[in-house]
């Protein structure tokens, strides 16, 4: 039973961490993109 628990925990933790990592990366890049878009608009004025 311990082995079963260990296997499923490993699966959940890795999938959770990877999904979180992708979400974090996406949100950081989106913020950076918005900043750059604003900078480009200001420069174009």
């Amino acid at each position: 039973m311990n082995y079963l628990f260990a296997a499923y925990m490993a699966i959940w933790i890795l999938i959770f961490v990877y999904t979180l990592y992708l979400g974090h990366r996406q949100s950081n890049l989106t913020k950076e993109l918005e900043l750059l878009k604003t900078a480009l608009k200001e420069k174009s004025r």
Partner: protein, 232 residues
């Protein structure tokens, strides 16, 4: 022009469906499917172990197809697809490499044995770790995409070897298909199929996210280029 870095409502709906199917898979594994007579509860590792292995192989198949398409067309979308799929493939093969020994410890009384299925799976993992490292290198982007595409095509050779290794050399690893028939109880087969569906949906969900990230990164690089021109 459509902004491919923004994921729409469809992506969120897919996330909800994946969660629901995942819940169904867990219900079937822990509450519904009968326990295997010889191994007992630990056999239940099998459903997610095979599900993750399927996605690992499928992800590398997509890398293979996208790499061929990229070398033929030089279109960036294929390169982005290959990159996102390879990263997911590495995550899922890592899960296979982790859950396999946990099952082996219980079934064979050893964490690791150098039998063909395990050895070829480990080689596959190293191949795609190397692929991801090539992607992360500071090489000129077109050269890197070309090198990664060649790597993605050659690296895929190991996938059928892993798949067929139990047929030709393996002594310990369980056989799922024997003489063209499933070597599995019908309820266990249904549970396995729901697990495979769960991970397929999860793969598509993660792939959409990974590809969106690459599109955003491309847009950032394009704006940085424009800004550099304006400052010069």
């Amino acid at each position: 022009m459509k902004n491919r870095g923004v994921l729409g409502i469809g992506h969120n709906i897919l996330g909800v469906i994946t969660f629901l199917v995942m819940s169904l898979a867990l219900y079937m594994i822990f509450m519904w499917v009968p326990e295997e007579a010889t191994m007992g509860p630990v056999q239940k590792i099998f459903y997610f172990h095979v599900g993750t292995a399927w996605i690992g192989f499928f992800a590398f198949f997509i890398v293979f197809i996208a790499s061929i398409a990229y070398l033929r067309t030089k279109e960036r979308k294929w390169d982005i697809l290959a990159e996102a799929s390879a990263e997911i493939g590495v995550v899922f093969i890592t899960l296979v490499i982790i859950t396999g020994p946990i099952w082996a410890r219980s079934a064979w009384n050893t964490w690791w044995t150098w039998e063909p299925r395990l050895t070829t799976s480990l080689i596959l993992w190293f191949i795609y770790i190397a692929y991801v490292l090539v992607r992360a290198s500071a090489m000129e982007s077109e050269k890197k995409a070309r090198l990664a595409a060649i790597f993605g095509i050659i690296g895929f050779i190991d996938v059928p070897i892993v798949f067929l290794s139990i047929k030709f050399w393996s002594l310990n690893h369980p056989f799922l298909i024997e003489n063209g028939k499933m070597n599995l109880d019908p309820d266990m087969f249904k549970t396995l199929m729901v697990s495979v569906l769960t991970f397929t949906l999860l793969y598509v969900y993660l792939l959409q996210k990974g590809m969106a990230i690459s599109y955003i990164r491309d847009e950032i690089n394009s704006i940085k280029g424009k800004l550099r021109e304006k400052f010069d």
